[in-house]
Subunit: 352 residues, 2 copies
Amino acid sequence: MHNPDSTNPMNTENFAATRAEQSDSVENISATKAEISQPASDAEHVQQSPLIRLRIDLAYNGMNFNGWAVQPKLRTVQGEIEKVLRRILHDRTAQEQPTIRLTVAGRTDAGVHASHQVCHLDVTQAMLDGCVGHMHVDAVKALELRLSRMVPNDIAIHRVSIAPEGFDARFSALERTYVYRIADAQSTYDPRQLSYVWHIDDELDIDAMNKAAALTIGLHDFGSFATPNPGGTTIREVKTAYWRRVPMRPLIDDPMGEQYRTPAIESGLLCFTIVADAFARNMVRSLVNGCVQVGRGKRSVDWFAQKMQVPLREGSTGPIAPEGLTLEHVAYPPNDQLASRAEAIRAVRTLD
Amino acid sequence: MHNPDSTNPMNTENFAATRAEQSDSVENISATKAEISQPASDAEHVQQSPLIRLRIDLAYNGMNFNGWAVQPKLRTVQGEIEKVLRRILHDRTAQEQPTIRLTVAGRTDAGVHASHQVCHLDVTQAMLDGCVGHMHVDAVKALELRLSRMVPNDIAIHRVSIAPEGFDARFSALERTYVYRIADAQSTYDPRQLSYVWHIDDELDIDAMNKAAALTIGLHDFGSFATPNPGGTTIREVKTAYWRRVPMRPLIDDPMGEQYRTPAIESGLLCFTIVADAFARNMVRSLVNGCVQVGRGKRSVDWFAQKMQVPLREGSTGPIAPEGLTLEHVAYPPNDQLASRAEAIRAVRTLD
């Protein structure tokens, strides 16, 4: 039912090999200075034509992707979008050819979904202007329309906009919201939800699961439930974490007298909502796995508490199946705090 | 955006060739006497061991099926379930070998879903007894458990039960409920719903669509919007038909203080609910297509009214994309009316 993660994170070779499988959400908080000051171009080019930062709001069904991050020869969300962007932006600016590279708020793993993901991209005015063609809209809208139409149908581009001063999709973010959906013995499993709901036949003890979830709230080292990036930590601040069953409710509020009321499709699902400043690699899926083990009665709340107290990664706290997980939201501070937030977050988190 | 159906239904060759593509829901109301009295066996065998009728309640994601009905070499819902049933029921009753054949309430077309479908199956006591094996449950429960575990994960078996006297999944049904889901310009398209929501960029005039939908209510010949079975009619009684936008509402009713409330996944979708005694081939998808043409302003409500008045099948009223359609419910009368209802419905419907 789960995919235990017993890889020693200190073993670099194993780490690299299993990287794609393991990460369910990664905010790399230890980027180098060079990466930050030259986000999408070489230094010389930056001086020639100033870069414009674009914010892209999007969603995707992760089922047929090997996660967000580009990987050679694998179908990834970043890979598909960058491929389309290169067609849209480069064909018209052949002399410039700066690298098209997206920076994302929450790197999601293979099979994990996003109903609202945010990324940014730096482009030149010339590249943008080249998007308009015969369209009667401004350049950013033209890019949005072309991108929307050209990405595959398991990606939805919701908006492309000029990012406010100081905006960084990854470092400016204040918090991320993830939801994990389960159809358990008390739910009626609907196969239309195959790609985004995890299905088990077990009865789950929700009270016990909520006791475990409550232990995650606050600033903790999630070393038992996450894998650090090289040079990073597993210390994060969880703001909210709880399990709830979605109430049974009709799809339509004001019916036309029919006897049978079609229920909303998520009626009866068991959902885990978690909000944190950021999530370390594997963190959400490993916490869900821990809670589910408690809910099944295979582990106690005390076991979970012990894992929170002593941050040690081992087989029993590996990540659960990816399909139930969706990145639902990324929150940013007001525009005048975007730059200072990004500056503060670029520092590696420590307990002191 | 739609798939116009311009096939002349009188041309038998074309009809057979495009049959699988066209039918979105078929209740064949012109079955022969022989079919009815010998549902799953030859007459001699019926005398040897009386048949027990089982009712199966189930759901499926139609995306990867070529519809409900068995077709040679194609993956169909009926085909997959009957294949599993033959393994469960026949291995243990090799001498008997009666035909395993399901009778369904609503035959759905390729790509169409069912959140609650009903079918029946006739078996002998010996076949049932053979299901138990080492399980400590009764034979029907054993069949339910084995079937649930052995069907592919885009089918969910919700219940197997002994059918009450006189029950016929197809002929006893009082009414069927279908819902068609659209993500239009006013919805935020969520690719997790790729398999069960139809996505268009257009603005739709819901008031006009509801005016068209209202014209379908009552006993009508839906000849403009459906294809008759050989020997059957396109006269049906629509009890309810209307368009509504799903309200924006949070997934969880009682949150834990988080600022961002994750919305229910169907928030903002435009949904068509239709209830009728039965539906002719293509009927729901063709009515939806007619309404959408009105909603886009490409056709008027008067055009729709004319199509209702003069039942004539032609290209403009063909079926819309299948993925938005789900069979949500099949209603049956009280047990003491099951047999009389089935008897009445077996007659071919006529206007007089």
